[in-house]
Amino acid sequence: MAEAQPIVPPLIVSPEREASRPFVQTLHGWIVTVDHKRLGVMYFSYGILFLVVGGIEAMIMRAQLAVANNHLVSPETFNQMFTMHGTTMIFFAAMPIVFGFGNYCVPIMIGARDMAFPRLNAFGFWMSALGGIILYFSFIGGFGLYGAGSAPDVGWFAYAPLTSRAFSVGHSTDYWIVGLLVSGFGSIATGLNILTTALCMRCPGMKLNRLPLMVWMNVVTSFLVLVAVSPLTAAQIMLLIDRYLGGHFFDTQAGGSAVIWMHFFWVFGHPEVYILVLPAFGILSEVIPVFSRKPIFGYNAMVGATIAIGFISLTVWAHHMFTVGMTSYANAFFVASTSAIAVPTGIKIFNWVGTMWGGKIRFKTPMLFCLAAVAQMLIAGLTGIMLSAAPFNWQLSGSYFVVAHFHYVIVGVIVFGTFAGIYYWFPKVTGRMLSDTLGKWHFWLFLIGFHLTFDFMHIPGLLGMPRRIYTYDASRGWEGWNIIVSIGAACQAIAVLILVINVIWSLYKGREAGNDPWDAWTLEWATTSPPPAYNFAELPEVRSRRPLWDLKHPEDPDWKYE
C-alpha cells in the first residue's frame, strides 16, 4: 500500500447530555447558531412543519373530491389549496428536508467540523424560513378578489397570463413570487455551501472516489440547485417587472409569450425533481448496504449514474409541454432525452438490488422504507417512460394520471427515503432510538395508504379526470376511485401522526442509542450521539470507503481491496 498509516477515527468519550438551561437561553442558542448540525435540524423541522401544513391542504382537497358534486369548500378555496399544497410541498417541505439532510450529513460524513461557510449556512436557512413566512402571510395579507385574505390561486407553476395584473388582482400572486424568490436565494446559498464543503472540507484521505454516496448525491443536487433554481429566480424577477413596472415579458397583448414562461419555469421545474430525489437516492445508498451487511454494489457506476442524471435532467424540461404544440423536432428531442434519463436511474435500481443480493438483510424500519422506495421508484419510472412518449402524453397530460405519476416519485421515493433517513439518523442526532414497533406501524400504514391513494389515482386519470377540477358529476364514473384515493390519504395522515408521536415519545423515553447502533461504516458513527459541536476532536484520516469497517476489522480492512 502506498499509504502507511491506518485510519483512526477519533472515538471520543461520550459527553454529558446538555444540561438543562433556561428556555430563553436555549432559544437564543438555536437562533444565533451557525453549527451545521443545529441548522440541519432546524431545516428539517421546518420542512416537517410545512409537510404537515401541506398535508392538511391535501386532506382538504381529498375531502372535497371524495364524492361527486361535493361542495365542502368553495371553488376559490380549492384553487388556493392546490396552489399552496404544491408550492409548500416543493419549496418549503421537500427542499428544507433535503437541505436538512445535506447540512447534517455532508460535513460529518466527510470528517469535517462544519460547513465551508457556516454563517452563509445560517443565512440560507433564515432566507428559506422568511420565504415560507411570506408565502403564508398571504392568507391574511394578500387581499384579492374574494374578500379579506387571499392565498395564491394560480397553481404551483403559475402559468402566464393568469399571473398578469389583469387576471391576478390583489397581492396574493405577489406573495407567491416574493416568497419563492427569497427562498430561492436561500437555496442558492445553501447549494453553494454544500458543494464547496464537499469539495474543500474533506478530511485527509477522503478522496472523491471514497466519498459516501450520500455526499456524492448531495454534490450533484447542489450543482443542480445552482443551475436550476437560478432560472426560476430570473423568471420571478421578470414576472415582478411585468406586474409592477409594466413590462411585457409574458404579456401576449404586446407580443410577449406565455409559452416562454412555461419554458423558464420547467427549466427549473424538472431539474427540481432530481434536486429532491437525488438526496433520497443518497439515503437509500447509505441505508441499504448497512442493513444488507454488504458494501454498496457498483460504487463507480452509482457515482457515474448520479452525474449522468444531473446532466440529462437539464435537457428534459419540455416533456411537461408536449401539448403546447412544439415542433416535431423539439418533441422528438425531449422524448429521447426523457427516455434516456431512465437508463442511469435503472442502473441505480440494479445496484441497490445487487447490494441486497446475497446480503444478510435486517428488516428494521429504515430498511423497510428503503425496500418500498426501490420498488416504487421502479413503478414511478415506468409511468415516467409512458409519459415521456409524446403521443401518450398528448392523451394524458393534465390528467390525474400525471398527478399520480409525480406523486409516486415525490411520495413513493422522496418521502419514503426521508422516513428511512429519519429512522436511520435519529439516533445520531438525538442519542436515542426511535421505537421500532411504532416505526413498523408507521411503515405499514403509510405503505397501505400510499398504494390506496396513488395506485388508484392513475385510474380516474386514464378515465379522463383532469387535474385541478373542483368537483365532478356522478355520471363520469370517477366517484368510486376517488373515495379509495381519499381513504388512502387518511391512512397516510394517521401514519404521519404515528411518526410524530414516535418522535416525541422517543426524544424523552427512547432507548439510548450509543455511538453506532446500526453497526454502520461511515464517519458520522465514529463520533458520539449526539455529536459534540466540533464533531471530531481530531480530524479523522480515512483509507477506504468504509472507514469504520477498517477500524472494526483491522485484520481485513477494505483498503486492501479498493
Binding site: P6, G246, H248
Partner: protein
C-alpha cells in the same frame, strides 16, 4: 501493516480548505450565469418581435467609451492584486481606486445612455418588448456593477483604515473574481444587445 494509531493533534484545517473561497465564488458565478443566461435568452427570443417602435437599430449606439472603461477596470484590478501580493499597499490602494473610478464611469455612462433613451427617444420599460428586455438585461448587469462597486469601496475604505495587509491577498483575489465575472458578462451583453440582436 501495523494497525497503530497515529493521530495528528488538532490539525488546523482539512487539506483542501484553502480553496474554499475560490470554489465558493465559482459556485456563485455559475448561479449568476444561469440568471443572466435566462435574461439573454429572453432578449434574443424577443428581438425584433416588438409590436411598436422604437427599434434597437433606431436608438442604440454602441457604448464604446463605457465598455473600454469597464474592460480596463479588469486590468487595474489585476494590477492591484499583484501589488497586494507583493506587499505594496500604496500601489494596491491606487489601482483599487482606479478600478472603482472606472466602474463608476461605466455606471454614469449607462445612466446617460438611459436618460437619452427615455427623454429623447421615448423608450421606457413599458414602451415595447425591446424596452422591457433591454432595460431588464442591461439593468441587471448594472445592478451587479453597483454591487461590485459597493464591495470594492468597502475594501478601499478598509485599505485606507490600514487593515488590509499582504496576507489578505487571497481574499481580495476571491472578490476580484466577482469583478472579472461582471466584466465577462458585459462582453456577452454588449455583443448580444449592441451587435447580434440589433
Amino acid at each position: 501493516m501495523a494497525a497503530a494509531s497515529i493521530a495528528v493533534p488538532h490539525p488546523q484545517s482539512p487539506p483542501y480548505a484553502h480553496y474554499r473561497g475560490k470554489i465558493g465564488m465559482w459556485c456563485l458565478i455559475i448561479a449568476e450565469s444561469s440568471i443572466f443566461l435566462i435574461f439573454v435568452v429572453a432578449y434574443l427570443y424577443y428581438a425584433g418581435k416588438s409590436l411598436s417602435g422604437p427599434t434597437p437599430a433606431q436608438v442604440l449606439d454602441v457604448p464604446i467609451f463605457n465598455s473600454i472603461c469597464l474592460f480596463s477596470s479588469s486590468l487595474t484590478i489585476v494590477l492591484a492584486e499583484r501589488a497586494l501580493h507583493s506587499g505594496n499597499i500604496k500601489r494596491f490602494g491606487l489601482c483599487w481606486f482606479l478600478t472603482i473610478a472606472l466602474g463608476v464611469i461605466f455606471l454614469v455612462g449607462t445612466g446617460r445612455e438611459w436618460y437619452h433613451l427615455i427623454y429623447d427617444d421615448g423608450l421606457t420599460i413599458k414602451t415595447n418588448l425591446f424596452g422591457t428586455t433591454f432595460y431588464s438585461l442591461v439593468g441587471l448587469h448594472a445592478f451587479h456593477v453597483t454591487v461590485g462597486i459597493i464591495g470594492l469601496t468597502i475594501i478601499l475604505l478598509l485599505t485606507l483604515a490600514g487593515t488590509v495587509r499582504q496576507e489578505h491577498s487571497y481574499r481580495v483575489s476571491v472578490f476580484s473574481m466577482y469583478w472579472h465575472f461582471v466584466d465577462v458578462v458585459w462582453v456577452v451583453v454588449l455583443s448580444v444587445v449592441y451587435f447580434i440582436a440589433r
